[in-house]
Symmetry: C2
Subunit: 791 residues, 2 copies
């Protein structure tokens, strides 16, 4: 069946066209059936209200177009023996993708109850958008999907992520014209500048213009052909247009266009792979213009429906009250001639079924769309080899992310051959001090390279683009197809992808409940250039609130780590890169900072997630006057400096120092699997001592995590939305997280110390001295800058 | 000075070019000075390390290009008497905009200490990026700015928002090529489809290509002219290219191009305004390609700096240790010939200063860039006129947002003439049931209109586009220039603009501290199609976590309202539309739901923010067995149904029902100005009764808000990330927020009720009955669906 590349596409024989059309009709029939029918799936008797679902929930408008593309992709796959997956940007058209998975047999293989017979058809229809059934959008439950069809805008990013390092894969990506208005989609067309035809697969974008969103026209559907073509040529594509509504004309047009397009893709790849990469090719794309709700009811209640926004969801409603609507529905369903499509048992006729590809060539059964099945462990260097040598806590300095960079360099190196690890970053890899990775790889581009460029090549595995959306979307697509990666970002701007994180976490939550979906590598965030050290950038770059978004998602999915120094960062990142099905958020600084733990101690500390730092405490395991807790590198520094000050000025004070690396240990185990038992928690935090907690993020989060704990004598300092361009220490002062305020908090909250009025005054004077000094010299007090742990 | 439109642009006389260049050199000199100099601002003596700041923080790379555009805009403003503002996409170039505001005199008018003399120059330099000084980016502190230069991607959206309904305004918007990679920017070019040349002003986008981001090349800087031109023609613009590095050539090129462009804009406007709107024009734009760090050091330490990423921030560092760098800096500064630019007193020479426009024509003093000065109150209908007639609580139904739609229709109508109110929405105005507004206005488009379109016209004041980024950015620009508006969104997808919200809240926080910035209208969100009623869409559309993001911002800025029915929604929205300098988040349902309060009661309730619903309580002001609290429409319904059930089955139970409209009342007054005093709080919630709190959002938020309150016997139900396509009531059951679980919570938590094992069993049976019923019939139990308040 495989056709040699060099032959010209032959006209499609009429009998093949007829079968294609029959397959399309079957998919359309199954789509409508899912939206409407509770019973009578083969229309063996006239439709009555009892056959109709009580609540009609689904999206018809986009479904026939999706079915049209899908059946033609099937033909192409068989003809050229393609390894292809299908990404459904207009994922509201869940009925279409379920219909196709069912027609290919995959659906019944995964869900045997939904069998290939009348009983199965009835189940297929009833379960759709029905309590206890399946979602109305393309979802994790849909075989063949790596792309949730709820929030719009990320299809093309997932497609490119899937294609990276999969040279044999073709990713067919349908982009809806509604979705195309989103920001993430508008920039994602530029992904072609980051795809190397030698080592990567191909993405075939199909922009599906059906002209309307829920109620308004779409921008790209209305701007006219000339601008449309220029726009996509400007994005670097070679657009092919397929346009019309008559299936007799559209089938041969689409078949020929797809053949031309695949030949062009194969020729680009053959050329690049035989002669080496020379320049970015103009990849083909298709602009498909068809009526919204194509083949659906033309006119309902005197209003045009097909070709308008009125077919977006359910074109016929109130079927229990309006017999004429019921008749329209029956006519609509019968227009697909189900009797020609299904045999007596309700099974699709074999000559039609034979159009689908076989086995793993079926897009609904392609293993790339169930990435966990292809996932291989990373080859990992021993993270202990990168340890900073810490003989004594709090004396020498290191830049934590720079140390991590060496580890990541070797992770990259060890997996160069298996081509399954990438780093995504909005042009900040060096700014985030991970530049050691450039010793073994480059930034990626397919654009011309100039002598003034730094570590740039088409072979690069560091994906830098000034779009958090692209970084996130590519990485999701890469992970969902069974690979590994890391997203390094400025902390504040990770909020740009809050909603993408939400959707990915929801996807993981649902896939955990689907045994046939195999676990994928975790989505690892390294958030650096964080709130406390935005010396260059000020207030707009200060926002540690991503954690607050993250902890709202299912506890089984989310992990948050705040390593206080380089060795703990190494230990945490090693763990994250080995983990599966999580979202790991790791927050660490890039600036030179004091180092606390030897590697052995770091491993113990990270394994526990939270522990008492005995070397900094002087309560000797007894009841302390105060627990000084901290999470995050800067809060840890300030806490220890406060402890030093207090121990020097109040020699008999008993302080316990607690450091939290794994934030989720604070929650009760009933709310998070990492949660400390109450007994463990109480043994660390006591049940009644005042706790002064210095936290990296917004302080209220600690209260939210610990409200069920016994000891509520908890006072939290954190970022309270004060800041500007100023010195590092002044940032702490502005938010009252600095050593002097923390020491004051202890004086205020430990009753037996409240007599020390002179100490309070001394601290107040220190703050005034600080303020005057920075205004004069623009730098921090030497005693603050040069402080180290003296005990 | 104003030149008639029809004359051709004359070549710029050499002496004018020389002055232009001098002005540019002055702006560049001031930019470098701000980054480096602590003293010796006029280089009266050779530079020594003592003249240099201890910490060098700022961005040089983009600054000379910004200065170049600014000075040429000044010429154009004077020549054509333009009313123009300047939006700085590459806002990291703060030094440039501060320099220009200083040259125009505005800076010294607003900040008299920074005077127009040597002393003022010294202050200008020292304060930049210095503790106690001003931020390094374009910020609220920068006169003439409505656009914060921190997070990138929103400049063009702010520009269009500013131009809407300002027919005489020209918004010059510089878009950086780094910023251009962001999603929000990539889609924002399409804003031209939403700008009507008759009633709106003009936006002049200037894409500034300097080729590099922090360390990598930019996409648009590298793709080549052919694609670049096509891309912007595809976006619908007519691009003009100005490219080079020799100022002698660049000055006349830029001057002529700008003249051509302004003539084209004026001709488009004159045509549309005399003959009426006919079709979307191809607005001109400029593509300006100049070296990064233009006029800065060419080579430093043997590496090329000008024209490369190395000039992004501070091209010369370690000046205290490297005398050769200090010499380079001095040569660089002297290359601008400060002695020709400033007089002996350090004041800019009058012939140069005269190039700047005068008074409010100065872009740094244009009142549109301080929108509060132009703000007029909305004309408001009396919201009470739209009240649902509620004779008895909990009996009749209404769709809250549909009722609100009538009110908004009349707000729209009353302000049609003043053209200062718009509604932004991602194609969901009708879906969100606000369609009454279409009785008085339309959806906006400048594209061709088809017979199948619904309420679409170039006069429309409802801005629908499937991009939350565009909706948010336009509205921000509209508000910042002194107008009013509302952003109606699906609740889940407002997370797409979390980061934009963050930045706007930060902007408001800072402007409140600047007396010269006048208050602007609040940013009002209406979040509907919320988590509890996503019947069509399921899990991906369920996320009430925007509140969690919002409450992290400054308490002076943020307000969150959860009106439980139509009358409270009217009352809240009336308040929000009248307020200033806030971000108001209003969450309300769109589906038919029981109505609780008459308008009089609604006003009382909303004024209090939280109150005891006496009519639903039976504790007669005494100590209740339990406080049943609720916030949000669905939680209110379920709470009252639970109260009904409990009162029926346990006749002697004493229940107090509390409803919370204004979420921030729960915080202590020390944390939020709306916070109840402890006394008030305790009088409502008691100090020791169990509280069962049914909350619209993630339950932990209530703990975070109330952790300082006395009564910690608080049990909160809310959305815990469970959901799919199912029935409305089942959504509550999945998250244990339903009436039966709430009643069980009461049985479990009120000690004297724990004996009622049979009641607990009855509730468990109810839940099983529910589950079986929905799986069979796909709809809720009639007794649940048809329940109304019987007491």
């Amino acid at each position: 069946m495989k056709r040699a590349v060099k032959q010209q596409p032959q006209p499609v024989p009429p009998e093949e066209l007829e079968l294609l059309d029959a397959y399309w009709r079957a998919a359309n029939y199954l789509s409508v059936g899912q939206i409407y029918l509770l019973d009578n799936p083969l229309l063996r008797e006239p439709l009555t209200p009892e056959h109709i679902k009580p609540r009609l929930l689904g999206h018809w408008g986009t479904s026939p177009g999706l079915n049209f593309i899908y059946v033609h992709m099937n033909r192409l796959i068989r003809l050229y023996d393609l390894n292809a997956i299908f990404i459904t940007g207009p994922g509201h058209g869940g009925p279409a993708l379920i219909a196709n998975a069912y027609l290919e047999g995959t659906y019944s293989e995964i869900y045997p109850n939904v069998s290939q017979d009348e009983e199965g058809l009835k189940r297929l229809f009833k379960q759709f958008s029905f309590p206890g059934g399946v979602p109305s959008h393309v979802a994790p439950e849909t075989p063949g999907s790596i792309h949730e069809g709820g929030e719009l805008g990320y299809s093309l990013l997932h497609a490119y992520g899937a294609a990276f390092d999969n040279p044999d894969l073709l990713v067919c990506c349908v982009v809806g014209d509604g979705e195309a208005e989103t920001g993430s989609c508008a920039t994602s067309w530029h992904s072609n500048k980051f795809l190397n035809p030698v080592r990567d697969g191909a993405v075939l974008p199909i922009l599906h213009l059906n002209g309307y969103k829920i109620s308004g026209p779409t921008v790209l559907g209305r701007i006219g052909s000339e601008e449309l073509i220029k726009l996509f040529e400007g994005y670097g594509y070679r657009p092919y247009v397929v346009e019309g509504h008559d299936p007799q004309i559209m089938h041969p047009q689409m078949a020929t266009t797809l053949e031309n397009v695949i030949r062009e893709i194969q020729s680009i790849q053959a050329d690049a792979r035989s002669r080496g990469f020379s320049k970015r090719p103009h990849w083909p794309m298709i602009i498909l213009r068809t009526p919204k709700g194509w083949t659906g009811p033309k006119v309902v209640d005197g209003q045009q429906v097909e070709g308008t926004f009125r077919s977006h969801q359910v074109p016929l409603a109130e079927l229990h009250r309006k017999p004429e609507h019921l008749r329209l529905l029956e006519n609509w369903l019968r227009s697909y001639k189900p009797e020609e499509l299904f045999d007596k048992k309700g099974r699709i006729r074999p000559e039609i079924a034979a159009l689908a590809p076989q086995g793993e060539r079926r897009m609904s059964a392609n293993p790339h769309a169930n990435g966990g099945t292809l996932l291989r462990d990373l080859r990992m260097p021993d993270f202990r080899d990168y340890a900073v040598d810490v003989e004594k806590p709090g004396v020498q300095q290191a830049e934590s992310t720079r140390v991590l960079g060496c580890f990541l360099r070797d992770v990259m190196k060890k997996n160069l051959e298996s081509r399954n690890f990438r780093i995504m970053c909005p042009d900040e890899t060096a700014s985030n001090r991970l530049q050691a990775v450039f010793e073994v790889t480059d930034r990626m581009t397919t654009e011309p390279i100039l002598p003034t460029d730094d570590h740039l090549s088409p072979e690069g595995r560091v994906m830098e683009v000034l779009s958090e959306h692209m970084c996130q979307g590519w990485l999701e697509g890469y992970l969902l197809t069974g690979r590994h990666g890391l997203f390094a970002s400025y902390e504040a701007f990770i909020h740009i992808v809050d909603s993408m994180f939400n959707q990915h976490a929801k996807w993981l939550k649902v896939t955990r409940e689907l045994p046939w979906r195999r676990p994928i590598a975790s989505l690892n965030y390294l958030l650096t250039s964080h709130v406390w050290r935005q010396d260059h950038n000020g207030f707009t770059h200060q926002d540690p609130g991503f954690i607050d978004v993250v902890v709202n998602k299912k506890a089984e999915i989310v992990r948050v780590y705040l390593p206080p120094d380089a060795n703990t960062l190494l230990c945490v990142m090693d763990h994250c890169l080995r983990s599966r099905n999580y979202v790991n958020v790791v927050i660490a600084g890039k600036h030179p900072e004091l180092q606390w733990l030897s590697m052995n101690d770091a491993i113990k500390h990270c394994t526990a997630g939270v522990s008492i730092w005995e070397w900094a405490s002087n309560d000797q395991g007894g009841q302390p006057d105060v627990v000084m807790a901290c999470a995050g590198d800067v809060p840890t520094l300030e806490t220890l400096a406060a402890v030093d000050w207090l121990r020097k000025h109040i020699p008999d004070i008993k302080i316990r120092v607690v450091n939290v690396v794994d934030l989720m240990t604070l929650q009760p185990p009933s709310l998070h699997p990492h949660g400390l038992s109450d007994k463990e928690y109480d043994s660390i935090f006591t049940t009644d001592c005042p706790i002064i907690f210095a936290f990296h993020g917004y302080p209220w989060l600690i209260h939210r995590l610990t409200y069920r704990r016994t000891n509520q004598r908890l006072h939290v300092r954190g970022y309270k939305e004060e800041g500007t361009i100023t010195t590092p220490f002044d940032m702490c002062v502005l938010n009252e997280l600095d050593r002097f305020h923390l020491a004051m908090d202890v004086l205020d909250r430990v009753p037996r110390l409240q007599a020390h009025a002179h100490l309070r005054q001394m601290l107040r004077d220190k703050l005034l001295e600080h303020k005057a000094y920075i205004r004069e010299y623009g730098d921090d007090l030497p005693e603050v800058k040069n402080w180290s742990w003296p005990w």
